[in-house]
Subunit: 427 residues, 2 copies
């Protein structure tokens, strides 16, 4: 039996998983998929976990379980810290793994534009842990406002600021507006939750720059109907523990969320190959890195120019790149020449609270209820796993009919009943 | 309008919630329910969250949401630190709240028999945070075993010890056995998950002492069929980071779980009234505390003797006590004499993995599939909220048919993308 071709995939996101699945029939290939997490995360719905609409398990599935029947894959949970380009091996926290082909698909983190200390006061939304933290902060702000007697502090607690007018920022701001107006309005006695102030801050001249101006304008009106103030051309100058400064103005806000900038996984820079200013590795037309035709970068970690601008960091790009890489590797193994990657743009969409969305497919643009239904169908279709689909559909149906949210839990970080530094209650 | 009678309830568990609901028609009463958490937790199913079968939100519901329509209740999230018996006020972290009647129903924590440092190595199971921590530890042990090359360490990672042979310990041990044999068996490549060693340790002469001996014996055989070794008359002498000592023998085990002892909430001891050795307040026949007829203690925090032994810390006792207190307060407000509490024992049950349970109702004892169906029905019936019931039924149906577990997530405690003390990956 011939030695198997070793394919190592780093990252079990959309790109990595699509690449692994694309090689499912390749019996002469041995795949190792390495991820820091044990789960694949459906990031497009992550804001719903942050906003207490869905549970973490409803949008995540164990990578091992997804690939359980694909016998040519082994899944290892661990962190890859560097790539040895000369030796064709990746170094992980559990040891080195050699490869014949390497696919790096480690995704992106948030970027605070050189102000890493802002993260403490303004969490971003890339992981389940961050989603749970945001949920904790938003729900806790309402709880604290309810028992606060000082009206100035109460107002500060009921002010929510979202930084960044892209799809995530719009979805977060819309969801806070909707939650305070519908779900929480009747649950409090001292405060009127529906008077919560939600401000969406965008540095550019308008929100949703990747959409047509008319759709962005529709989204702005939808947000305003949910009580969200949209501040465009507004630059954040400082973020503190209970305030945020925009230009020279300071807003007293207990909760600030960050949806402004992304930065590719730091692993890309360790390759010492050309990267763009956000750390994405600049790849060749076949997604390989310069000088190393057996090493590929895909998804949010890759900078791939098409029509003279880089492809955006969205799930469809990652999925198409993952599938493309699997196909190209198979082609090469069968002695055929490689092809070049070409992104097929199926359109884009964003949702703004209950029953509202915007969708753009080529020249078609639509908004409102129909766009929202399309949004629902597309997201359910792409969600991984029958169970997750079923549960998300049910959660949505229940929330839609009841105006409630099924995952309104404040979960603390500390699990010990009495941490070392905590004293027993005073007697 | 007459001044309203102020009832303060501390704790939104089974007892506190039942008391609040029991007073729903009392328009002359103003209730304040204070809880550290924003959610009521259905503790009897908590072990299923720990074992990745259910999501936290499926067995928890926001207290505020449960009582949303009951206009005579306000809910405050906060921690009560002491009770001022002379002034009839509770002191919480957000300020003081005065009362005419006080119901303390703060529940219990784990007790490590004077060895609090064991908690770090052997988490107990009382909160959602602890359940998530146990889930993380158990799933991580399998992940680490998969990438471990040293067979001794691999064996250590695949050894799970549960301390305590009560219902929680039996349910945890059974679930680990079941999960490794069915759910995980096909998902790993290097290890055989079904060879995981699970040991249940009990200091007494048999497990499940509150059940009839024949049922405990049936449960032992069921556990053994799931690969669980049951060690009775075994005293834990030490617990370290990767080992546990039983008598003079030391077991190398990466995962130890604690289901052995409980201790009532420390708030009880601050009253300076008689408590039993686990900190439960010894209450009068009407659940009031000696010398303070307007202060009651209920649920796991109370020591109430019936038939010359204290009632167990289980949900039915807490619910009946909560309802009883509401009824007694109403009686007194209408000028009628108080009644004395009497627990009506409807029986008890425990489950041992898939399709197996034991149930004891008075003199009736049954086990196996029928007992398991009864267990399912009873737990669904008592679960709070339509949504939770529906989702739990669906989760169980899915798990039963697919042999999978829907919440197999390892969630980390750290939400920041790069904590202060972590360095970027080496280049």
């Amino acid at each position: 039996m011939a030695e198997k071709v070793r394919v190592v995939i780093v990252g079990g996101g959309f790109a990595g998983l699509a690449a692994a699945k694309g090689l499912r029939k390749a019996s002469d290939v041995s795949i190792t998929l390495i991820d820091r997490r044990n789960h694949h995360l459906f990031q497009p719905l992550l804001y719903q976990v942050a906003m207490a609409g869905l549970s973490p398990a409803e949008i995540a599935a164990p990578i091992r379980g997804i690939l359980s029947r694909q016998k040519n894959v082994r899944v290892l949970q661990g962190e890859v810290t560097s790539v040895d380009l000369a030796e064709n091996a990746v170094q992980a926290d559990f040891g080195a793994v050699g490869f014949d082909y390497l696919i790096l698909a480690c995704g992106a983190n948030h970027s605070y534009f050189g102000k890493p200390d802002w993260e403490e006061y303004a969490p971003g939304l890339k992981t389940l842990e961050q989603a749970t933290e945001i949920r904790r902060r938003v729900l806790t702000a309402f709880e604290r406002a309810e028992r606060e007697t000082d009206p100035v502090k109460q107002k500060q607690l009921l002010t929510f600021v979202v930084v960044g007018g892209g799809p995530t920022g719009v979805e977060l701001a819309g969801a806070i507006g909707e939650m305070s107006r519908y779900t929480l309005a009747k649950d409090f006695r001292s405060i009127d939750a529906s008077l919560a102030r939600v401000i969406l801050i965008e540095a550019g001249s308008r929100i949703l720059p990747m959409f047509a101006a008319e759709l962005a304008s529709k989204a702005t009106r939808d947000l305003e109907q949910l009580g969200v103030q949209v501040w465009t051309s507004s630059m954040v100058t400082n973020i503190g523990s209970n305030s945020i400064s925009v230009g020279t103005e300071t807003i007293q806000a207990a909760t600030v969320l960050w949806a402004a900038g992304v930065e590719a996984s730091p692993l890309g820079r360790t390759l010492k190959l050309p990267t763009d200013r956000v750390g994405r590795v600049i790849v060749e037309p076949d997604l390989s890195v310069p000088g190393h035709p057996n090493i590929f970068v895909a998804g949010d970690q890759a900078h791939f120019d098409q029509s003279e601008k880089p492809l955006p960091g969205i799930a469809p790009v990652a999925m198409q790149q993952g599938r493309f890489l699997a196909a190209n590797i198979l082609r090469e193994l069968h002695g055929k020449p490689r092809e070049q990657f070409q992104y097929f743009d199926k359109g884009q969409m964003a949702t703004i609270g209950r029953s509202r969305a915007i969708t753009e497919v080529g020249r078609w643009k639509f908004s409102g209820f129909f766009a929202w239904v399309v949004w629902l169908v597309v997201h359910i279709y792409y969600l991984t796993g029958f169970r997750n689909r079923l549960f998300v559909v049910m959660s949505w149906a229940w929330s839609y009919l009841s105006y409630r949210r099924g995952a309104r839990l404040i979960v603390e970080k500390e699990w010990r009943s009495r941490p070392q530094d905590e004293k027993p209650p005073a007697s």
